[in-house]
């Protein structure tokens, strides 16, 4: 029962945050709204027994990536008018979003009317989604992918330095 209540609360918050990301003029406000969405998704991950992924979500997404966004905005030292140039008439866009959601909801209700796929009971609820369990999978079956990820991150780091440094100096 608490699962249902928590799901509805946090899915509403996630959708609300997403709509605010799209509709805010100021990128800083959008970033803060995105944190709301990411945090709500992390709570949904906990509901799905993915504790490790929830922690990663908050640490990397809501922490590091959002700080990177905000840092870039501060770093560019943009005038406020230039930051908010993307002025839009929110009512019109909200109408579009509303229609979008209604269409999706219509198909959703079609889904619900047929027999829903419920989550089966976990065979091993103590261990599912823990660091040990995910780590075992990561370092045995997906070891090559994991190592290649480190190469990707190094390449991205070098690329960022080259791109952001520019031609001068």
């Amino acid at each position: 029962m608490s699962h249902t209540v928590l799901f509805y609360i946090f899915s509403t918050l996630a959708v609300l945050g997403a709509v605010m990301v799209v509709s805010h003029k100021n990128p800083v406000s959008s970033a803060i709204s995105l944190v709301l969405t990411l945090f709500s998704t992390a709570v949904l991950f906990v509901l799905l027994h993915a504790h490790f992924i929830a922690a990663i979500q908050i640490l990397i997404y809501a922490g590091a990536i959002m700080v990177l966004f905000l840092f870039t905005v501060m770093f560019l030292n943009i005038r406020d008018s230039e930051l908010r140039f993307d002025s839009m008439n929110i009512p019109k866009r909200m109408t579009f979003l509303f229609l979008f959601t209604v269409v999706v909801g219509f198909f959703a209700s079609k889904f619900f009317s047929s027999s829903p796929v419920v989550f089966p009971k976990l065979e091993d609820p103590e261990n599912f989604g823990t660091v040990a369990e995910v780590g075992r999978s990561l370092f045995s079956d997906y070891l090559l992918a994991f190592e290649l990820t480190s190469v990707l991150v190094v390449i991205a780091m070098v690329g960022v330095l080259v791109i952001a440094k520019g031609k001068e100096s």
């Binding site: 249902t4 959708v15 799209v22 959008s30 995105l34 949904l44 990177l68 979008f100 419920v118 999978s137």
Partner: protein, 101 residues
């Protein structure tokens, strides 16, 4: 009513749709990047949902990879934002026509 897989799938669809909508309509390059994050995040949610449904760790590993790639992608994207802002003095994506033939 018990929360079924469909609830989560619909939520992920809605989040993805909002992200697509933002990418199509917004002109601010920073917000476009954020909407991209939104879409990636909804896909991560689906991975976790189906990992829970079939009770395996594969989906969790995929989410881990996707988060890493997203972090790298955001870093490169923001480096582009910095260099574009230096050249054009603006964050408007409509000004980016250098590749037009």
């Amino acid at each position: 009513m018990e929360i079924a897989v469909t609830h989560y799938v619909v939520l992920a669809c809605v989040l993805f749709a909002i992200g697509v909508y933002g990418i199509i309509t917004r002109k601010n390059i920073l917000i476009v990047l954020m909407c991209l994050e939104l879409m990636l995040n909804s896909c991560n949610l689906l991975f976790v949902v189906f990992s829970r449904l079939y009770e395996g760790s594969t989906g969790h590993v995929f989410v881990l990879m996707s988060v890493t790639v997203a972090a790298a992608e955001v870093a490169v994207g923001l480096a582009f934002v910095v260099s574009i802002y230096r050249q054009k003095e603006s964050l408007d994506i409509d000004l980016l026509k250098m590749l037009r033939g």
